[in-house]
Amino acid sequence: MANPEDARPAESPQGAAVATPPASKPAPKAPGARPAAPPAAQKPPVNKFRRRLIWTAVWGYLAANFFMFLRFFFPRALFEPNTVHTIGYPSDFQIGVNEKYKQAYRIWVVKEPPRLFCIFGKCTHLGCTPDWKPAENKFKCPCHGSGYTPEGVNFEGPAPRPMDRAQVELDATGQIVVDTSRLFSWFKSAGGPDHFEDPGAYITV
C-alpha cells in the first residue's frame, strides 16, 4: 500500500535529499508552488490481487448484510389472535343470516337448509366490513357500496367476487368449530372453480 512518503518529488535511489527546483518538473497552475505530484514510476507496484480480494470482501460483506437486512423484516413466528372458535350448536341458529358472532369473530352464520356456512365479513373489494341490511335483504359495504346477496354473492358495486366463507366443521360434541384463517373463495366472474362446494366450506344440517 503506497504511503504518504511517496508524496514527494523524485529522489535518487540512494535516498539522498535532492532539493529539486520546481522548474525541473512541470509545475501545476500556481507558479512557485511546491513540487507537484510524484511521477507514477516512483510508486511501489500495487498488489492487484490483494486489492481485488479486499474489495470483493468489502462488497461481499455489504451484499450479505443487505440480504440479511431484507430477511430481517420477515419474522418466523407470529403472535396474532387465535382464529379457531367454537360457536355453539347448529340448532342455536335461525334460518338465514345470524349476526351473533359478527362483532366477536367477523363472521355471519348463514343457515339455509340443508346447509350451514359462515361468511367471513371482509368485502372482497378493499377489505372493509360490510353491514347486513335485513330490511333490504342484502349485505352492503359502507366503503364503496358493494352489495351482496344473503348468501354473500356480489351483485352490485365494485366487489369482484363473492365474500369468502370460513372453514366449518363439527367437533366431537356436535358444536360448530369455525377457522377464519382458512377461507374458501369463488372467483365467479373469472369462471373459476366454486370452492364453496368444497368439504369444509359448509356443514350439513
Binding site: 504518504p4 512518503e5 508524496a7 514527494r8 532539493a19
Partner: protein, 314 residues
Amino acid sequence: MGGFNWQQLWEIASAPDNVPIVALLFLAPFYTWYAFHQARENDRLIDQLEADPKLAKTHHRKTFPWRPGWLKEIHTWPYLMRMELLVAIIVTVILTVWSLTLNAPLEELSNPNLTMNPAKAPWYFLGLQEMLVYFDPWIAGVLMPTLIIVGLMVIPYIDENPLGSGYYTLKQRKFAIATFCFGFMVLWLVMVFIGTFIRGPGWMWFWPGQTWDPGRVVFEPNRDLPDLFGVSSMPVKIVFGAIVMALYVAVVGYGLHKLITRAGFNKKIYERMSVIQYVVMQTFLVVMLLLPIKILIRLLFRIKYIWITPWFNV
C-alpha cells in the same frame, strides 16, 4: 480456604457484559505504552535540540522523516480516506466476530421484589457505584460526577503550559500527565476494575481467585472518626469534623503548592497562572485527593465518616 478458584475467575471474566472490561485491561495499558513510547522518542529529540541550538534552527522538529522539498501536506483523498476505510473495516470485523460469538445478556423479566446479588450498575458506572461504599449517595452519585465533568471541562482553562501542544511528550508536561493519569487510570479505571472483578455478592470484597460465596459472613463494623477521638455531642462533632477537613485542605493544599513551585519549569508555569486559575486548580486537586485517602482509611481502619452534621455526612 481452597486454592485459587480459576473457575470463578473465568465465570466473571467471560460474563458477556464484563468482556469490555477484560478488553480494557489490554487496551488501556497498550495505548498508554503506545503514547509513552512516542513521548519518549519526542523527548529524545527535544533533548537533542536543546543541546544543539544550531540544529534546533534547521531541524523540522519531528521524529518522523522529512527532507526539504518534501510536501508537508498530502491529499486527503486517497491517503487519509483509505486509512479511514481500513480502520472502519477492522472495527467492523471485530464487531461482527464479537457479535457472532457472544450473546448479549438477558436475564429474567424484571421483578421489583427480587434484587439480584450482586446488583451492579453497567460497567462504565461501576466506578461511581464503588464510591457509594465510601461516600453518601448525594456525594458519590451527584456531587462527584458533577465535579468530574466540571473538572474535565476546566482543564484547558487552567493549563498554562504552552508546550506539548500537538505532540506526545512526557518531560514537558510531567505534572499534567501525572495528574490526568492518576485521575483516569487510578481513580476511574481501577474503580471500574474493582467493581467488576473484586466486588461480589453483597458487595463484599473478594480477591481474584476467591469463590463468590453469598453466604460469607463478615463482621466489619464501621466507626466514625469523631467516635475514635471520643467526641460524642453533635455540636462538637460538627466542629471537630470541620477542623479535620480544614486541616486536610491546608496540608494537602500546602503540599501541592510546594510541589508546583519546587522545580524550575513548574515554577515558571505557576508564574504564568492567574489567581483564579490557581485557586480552581487547587480546589479540584484537593477534592480529587480526598478520594483515595478516604478509600484507604475506610479499607484499612474501617473509618466511615470524618465530618458529621445533622444535614450531611462526609
